[in-house]
């Protein structure tokens, strides 16, 4: 009875404390959303730059041989087929000037003796010089050239093979070079046509499978976890030693305070979670959940929250330095979210880390939340989570008992 009385007292105390923080509270709770908004803003403002016009690329030929001339011409012509890239031949000073004037996003540099070295199997290198004012476009060009050189590398080995055998057949130098060039051009087009090797089909099983919906649910789940941590740390109190002593005389234990904190945290998070979920359901008409499944989802999230808070309390007790506690708890929150499989789906993790998912309470609850909301299942495995929560409570009780013993 005394135990409950203390808890109720602390709950009241916490609520008044929160009411006094009416200004910082919403700011703190919105901070993860603001952070997300900031991220979205940066991505959009960066991607927005070159969306409407095509990417302009310069081709600088320092080799000036017949062969590179042909390659450059081929590139120039082939770029006119697609509509998002345009390549133009220019000399180096023009290219540098064009970058300064922000007219091209990058240029590709064919160095001296490029082709001869390639045929001889000596080291030759293509350089891509990017425009610092157009980073996204430059990266795109780099990616493209990287793919092309990867293909050329394997073609090059073949051309060198042909060269090797042609030499053994005592072919004349001039004739051999023209044969190699012919083969090179041949391979060049061969590489460009590689996309036809695979016939592609897309599979969709039902309407609720859009990645946006999946990530919205995943984001909501992560957000609830972050809110739990934020509210929990907001209720943290650095009690002075005198106060602690006095509370002890009244028979108050640390466990009672932590339980009160958890109840308040759960209560406020529940309100926020319900409001944000209503928002989701408003934006996505696909979300249609039967009444009994609402119960399942809330139970899953509740159990997840309880276990998460138990872990935070344990960390509080185990680590004595507050500074370190906050840092470790933040890290722990990150790990819990990562191993829920919400942000990066479980299948993409390394094999040996998949083991970790069987121990992850956040994954157990998120997996069933996903199954219910996205796949319309009418079932959730609650037992493992319940057992974890019960064991967690026992550990906390034992820990608290031992703690009070030691300090008295």
């Amino acid at each position: 009875m005394q135990f409950l009385k203390h808890i109720v007292l602390f709950i009241k105390n916490n609520l008044t404390q929160l009411r006094r923080k009416w200004l910082s509270l919403p700011l703190l709770l919105l901070s993860p959303l603001l952070l997300l908004g900031l991220l979205a803003f940066i991505i959009i403002s960066t991607l927005d730059v070159g969306e409407d016009n095509s990417i302009e690329i310069g081709l600088v030929d320092l080799d000036q041989s017949e062969e590179t001339d042909l390659i450059v011409t081929l590139l120039e012509e082939s770029s006119q087929i697609g509509d998002y890239m345009e390549m133009k031949r220019m000399d180096q000073s023009d290219a540098e000037k064009s970058i300064k004037n922000n007219q091209i996003s990058s240029y590709i540099l064919f160095p001296d003796n490029f082709f001869q070295k390639m045929i001889d199997g000596e080291r030759s290198q293509l350089s891509i010089i990017g425009n610092p004012d157009q980073p996204v476009e430059s990266e795109l060009v780099n990616e493209l050239v990287e793919t092309v050189t990867r293909h050329i590398r394997s073609s090059q080995a073949n051309i060198l093979t042909i060269n090797y055998y042609a030499k053994q057949l005592h072919m004349e130098d001039e004739e051999r070079t023209s044969l190699l060039l012919e083969q090179f051009v041949n391979y060049f087009f061969y590489v460009l046509g590689g996309d036809t090797a695979v016939k592609e089909n897309q599979v969709t099983n039902n309407a609720t499978n859009s990645p946006i919906l999946y990530f919205s649910i995943a984001g909501w789940f992560s957000l609830v976890t972050i809110w739990l941590f934020l509210i929990y740390s907001l209720l943290h109190k650095d009690n002075s030693r005198n106060l602690k002593k006095r509370m002890k005389l009244y028979g108050v234990t640390d466990l009672e305070q932590k339980i009160a904190n958890s109840v308040v945290t759960l209560f406020i998070t529940a309100i926020l979670a319900i409001i944000s979920f209503r928002f989701l359901a408003y934006f996505f008409e696909e979300i249609s959940i039967a009444a009994e499944n609402y119960g399942r989802v809330s139970l899953l999230v509740l159990l997840h929250s309880i276990i998460f808070l138990q872990c935070l309390i344990l960390l509080d007790w185990v680590i004595s330095s507050t500074k370190l506690t906050v840092l470790i708890q933040t890290l722990f929150t990150g790990i819990v979210i990562l191993f829920s499989g919400a942000l990066i789906p479980k299948i993409y993790f390394p094999r040996y880390l998949e083991e970790a998912f069987t121990f992850s309470f956040s994954h157990q609850s998120f997996h069933w939340v996903e199954q219910i909301i996205l796949n319309g299942r009418y079932y959730a495995e609650l037992q493992p989570l319940m057992w974890t929560a019960i064991i967690g409570s026992l550990i906390l009780a034992i820990f608290s008992f031992g703690k009070e013993r030691i300090s008295s």
Binding site: S45, N158, Y165, N201, S210
Partner: protein
């Protein structure tokens, strides 16, 4: 000054162990992060399903080549089951080797030799397809080369009688042994960014964020000492409170700079990355002043810890470190105190702001005791 160093030493002696840990934390975090990120990135795998419609040596060779790749982990299964698993998002994508594959490859024909299935949640489909296509390209390319050599022999009436397999083997050998075409990427600027290409994660970038956070956490002495009862006695000492604080910041600065030099040496020997000393020193000065002002503005130690973590998260977001491209929003870049350091330049703008902040703080504190 000597007295202050002595008192600071007495204060720190009691917590020397935890202090050492905190000071070395950025270094340890960086080493740990780079290690974990690199192994995890190597081990990240994409589960794909392979269906073999043809039981030939060529199709098995392709399957083995795909299995050898570190990008994917392959499960062989029937078409129906593969598609069912794809629908349940247990596989990223499914590739089917069509019947007649071997014959097509030997003829150098590669049109539609594979069929693929992917869903709208196949995040890694494109790189996997690229990889498989390039393996097929290699095989068909070699057949093409062999074909060309055979033709040549016929034309020139040679009598060597080379075998196709021999030519294909030669091409493999050349690919492994010779120094083939490379490409490099750089920006058209004078200042080199501090990112070298031999490690995927530049340790200095990770270190910059870690040290920002840890320095703010370390500066909680400002709050603690503001609240102690000793403070009322400052009017009776020969040194004023703001001067005392300033000298202590200086002591921390020197100590941390020393650790930074050690860090630079460690990074040089472990990762072979160098750093511009001027850039490092100005960055450290800015961080120390920044941490002091940051903590002075927030009166509670616990709140300052939470705020420091939040602030670091904001910095990570606006620096765009974990984005595949560098953001170019000018305003946000100016607001980012780490920008100069990450670009390998001396930190000037934010150091100026922090110095101005310190002057304002000094004048304000001075007035309180006047």
């Amino acid at each position: 000054m000597k007295d202050i160093i002595y008192t600071r030493f007495l204060l720190l002696k009691k917590q020397s162990f935890s202090l050492t840990c905190w000071i070395l934390l950025p270094l340890l975090v960086t080493v740990g992060f780079v290690y974990i990120a690199e192994t995890a990135q190597d081990d990240m795998n994409v589960p794909i399903g392979m269906v073999l419609e043809e039981d030939s040596s060529a199709s098995h060779l392709l399957l083995e080549a795909i299995e050898d790749s570190s990008l994917v982990s392959v499960t062989s299964l029937s078409e129906r089951e593969a598609i069912r698993k794809l629908e349940q998002h247990e596989l990223d994508s499914v590739f089917i080797i069509r019947a007649g594959y071997e014959e097509n490859i030997h003829n150098g024909n590669r049109k539609n030799v594979l069929t693929s299935y992917y869903s709208d949640r196949s995040f890694a489909y494109t790189p996997v397809r690229e990889m498989i296509v390039s393996i097929i390209q290699q095989d068909t390319g070699r057949s093409k080369a062999a074909d060309a050599v055979m033709n040549l022999e016929r034309q020139l009436n040679g009598e060597q009688n080379w075998a196709i397999d021999e030519i294909i083997e030669k091409s493999r050998q050349i690919e492994q042994e010779e120094d083939l075409l490379q490409n490099e990427f750089r920006y058209d600027t004078d200042s080199e960014p501090i990112a070298p290409s031999n490690t995927l994660w530049n340790p200095w970038i990770i270190w910059a964020f870690a040290t920002m956070l840890v320095t703010i956490l370390l500066f909680d002495w400002v709050i603690k000492e503001q609240k102690t009862k000793v403070r009322v006695r400052f009017p009776f000492t020969k040194i004023t409170y703001p001067a005392y604080m300033l000298m202590n910041v200086f002591i921390y600065l020197i100590g941390l700079l020393f650790i930074d030099l050690i860090t630079a040496l460690v990074f040089y020997f472990v990762y072979q990355v160098t750093i511009n000393i001027l850039s490092l020193v100005t960055f450290r000065m800015m961080i120390c002043l920044f941490a002091f002002l940051f903590v002075s503005l927030i009166r509670h130690a616990y709140a300052s810890y939470v705020a420091a973590i939040m602030w670091t998260l904001v910095l990570i977001v606006i620096s765009g470190t974990f984005l595949p491209f560098s953001p170019n929003n000018q305003l946000l870049q100016w607001l980012n105190p780490l920008r100069h350091f990450l670009n390998g330049e001396p930190t000037t703008f934010w150091l100026g702001i922090c110095v101005i902040g310190m002057i304002i703080w000094y004048v304000k504190e001075g007035k309180k005791y006047a």
